[in-house]
């Protein structure tokens, strides 16, 4: 009996401590990303931390252990319980997040998303690249490398990542219109968030299509995986791999021509924008036509769809890769 009452006292004590310790006025923010522990989101975390310190926001990033939408839902539920002021999210699956984001906003939490243009329950969604601009930039470069003719294949992160598919749509449409001699092989392969799957799919495709001359891989691990496949088959210089990837991870590969190039935006910058916008929302700063948001530039927001779309592309090639990689990307 004695032991039990001691236990109860312990619980009571911790309740008292627990409720008392929550007295700080720094705004808090949690950003739930697609998956933790990969370079892209490590860089984003760096940006979030950095800007958080600068602006006095208690900002943390949460990266689930796998790209399963249900893990993102769980992380957001916990953030609502934590009582943060702002939730940021880079969605794996937009539809799966709507109910929980609605719950967050009902609890008075501001919601910012990145790479989620279709989300409805957000205060703002921001993009560092417009879908058409990004897709076409890659398509142009691929056409240039392939000499405007030949077969190519396309990878996306997952068939449910709307943005990757929008890039793929834009790239395919551009090539179909401007380079009728270039032919897309097969369907889109949803492998580009996974190095091994990208490598395997690229090997299979090259085996099945000897005339294949190019890979457009939209997804951070796709170019790396496809590039490895090219190296294994000793097809560097014959088959061209293009797509956005992390420069640090692909530095040697782009120098060895296993990857021919790509465009990206800076995930660390995206992390900084998350915090900047979070602070603006908490402070009640209106974002309207012509507002200058550090990291995005002067914006013209789509008020109806709550989208802020900008083109802040960074080219990755042999000359720029070192500089970008040294930034920790």
């Amino acid at each position: 009996m004695k032991r039990r009452s001691a236990l109860l006292a312990g619980v009571a004590l911790s309740v008292a401590l627990g409720t008392g310790a929550w007295a700080q006025d720094k705004p808090t923010m949690g950003v739930v990303v697609k998956i933790g522990g990969i370079p892209w989101f490590n860089a984003m975390e760096m940006g979030i931390k950095e800007k958080g310190e600068e602006l006095g926001v208690d900002a943390t990033m949460i990266g689930p252990t796998s790209a399963d939408p249900s893990l993102q839902v769980r992380a957001i539920e916990d953030l609502i319980a934590k009582g943060v002021d702002v939730i940021g999210v880079v969605p794996n699956d937009e539809a799966a997040l709507e109910p929980v984001l609605e719950k967050a906003r009902a609890a008075g939490i501001k919601v910012i998303s990145h790479e989620g243009p279709g989300l409805k329950n957000v205060d703002w969604n921001f993009e560092m690249a417009s879908a058409t601009g990004f897709g076409e930039a890659h398509a142009k470069l691929l056409a240039e490398k392939m000499g405007g003719k030949g077969e190519y294949a396309m990878f996306v992160g997952s068939l449910t990542v709307p943005l990757h598919n929008a890039w793929a749509d834009a790239a395919a449409a551009y090539l179909a219109e401007n380079y009728p001699d270039m032919k897309l092989i097969g369907e889109r392969y949803g492998v580009a968030e996974n190095v091994d799957e990208s490598r395997k799919t690229a090997l299979d495709l090259m085996a099945a299509n000897p005339e294949l001359k190019g890979f457009l891989a939209f997804g951070s691990q796709g170019p790396i995986g496809a590039g490895r496949a090219i190296e294994e088959r000793r097809k560097t210089g014959e088959v061209f791999v293009l797509g956005p990837f992390s420069p640090g991870q692909g530095r040697e590969m782009i120098k060895a021509d296993a990857i021919s190039g790509g465009f990206m935006w800076n995930p660390a910058e995206a992390g900084r924008v998350f915090v900047t916008m979070g602070k603006m929302l908490v402070d009640g700063t209106e974002i309207t036509e012509g507002t200058d948001i550090p990291g995005l530039g002067v914006v013209s927001p789509d008020v109806e769809n709550r989208d802020i779309i900008t083109d802040n592309l960074v080219t990755i090639n042999k000359d720029t890769v070192d500089e970008l990689a040294d930034l920790g990307l």
Partner: protein, 325 residues
Amino acid sequence: MTRLRNALGGEVLGLIGFLILVVILFGLTAPRFLTAANFGSIAFQLPELGLLTLAMLIPIISGGLNLAIVFTANIAGLTLAWVLNTHGGVDAGFEWFVVGSLGALIVGALAGMVMGLVIAYTGAHPILVSLAMMIFLRGLGEFLTKGGDISGFPDYLRPLGHGLILGIPVPLILFAVAAFVWHILLTRTRHGFAATMIGSNIRAAAYSGIHTKRTLTLIYTLSGLMCAVAGILMVARFNSVRVGHGEALLLVTVLACFLGGVDPFGGFGRVVPVVIALIVLQALSSGLNLLGANQHLSTAVWGLFLIGVMVLRWVAAQIPKRRKG
């Protein structure tokens, strides 16, 4: 105290001890752990994992495993989504939800029954059979949905996933009912007894007159049925269905079963300790999230926790032996 121990079993007391430890630890370190909001969050997150764990529990007790639970749930969810979408989508009447749910339950039970029949009549190992079923269901689902998601459901689904009745989350009520049914099934019915006996020694069970083949088929059918319930709940929770929703939960359900004292080799397992184990796991995960810990760290903590429990269990088993000696 002894009476309490007898009523609940040492397993339950030990786990409750763990739970209290976890609550105190996070109560002291995570400022918002002991709040209604956090317990609400735990209560909303627990059920989908809980239902899947129940689906995993019976096969494990019978000495098998059902690796197809998540994809069975997805396929069942897809069935419901398909019925709703072909009958008006957002405007589908409530009767179509009932029809869709029935369809989902039938599909889930069928998937389970096929597995059960193969396991019972060919004698193939449950891991192989359920793995094959998992790959089949996943491929089928991805083919049917083209890897995309189906969304746009009527509003009345929302309360099922996010609503409260008398302050209790609806999913939690659903889970409590399911757990209670499972408890009764395992402790008070002939089938539950037969499942345990098969897990202990399938040959002895067969010689003592238990229709082992029929029981095995029923075990996996019930497991599939519970998956379908989880699938329906996931439709309501996420307002969308996609093959792969909840994929990461598969091994967590196995972890919860073992943590709850279910014998990995079959023959022993009870619902109550498994439910408490689930609460412990969810409290750990939510607590670490509140602390802002890395998600990979929380996976590591789960693993460490399981190892710790194994060691403690071994220690506990040694004590009475020493006394005798």
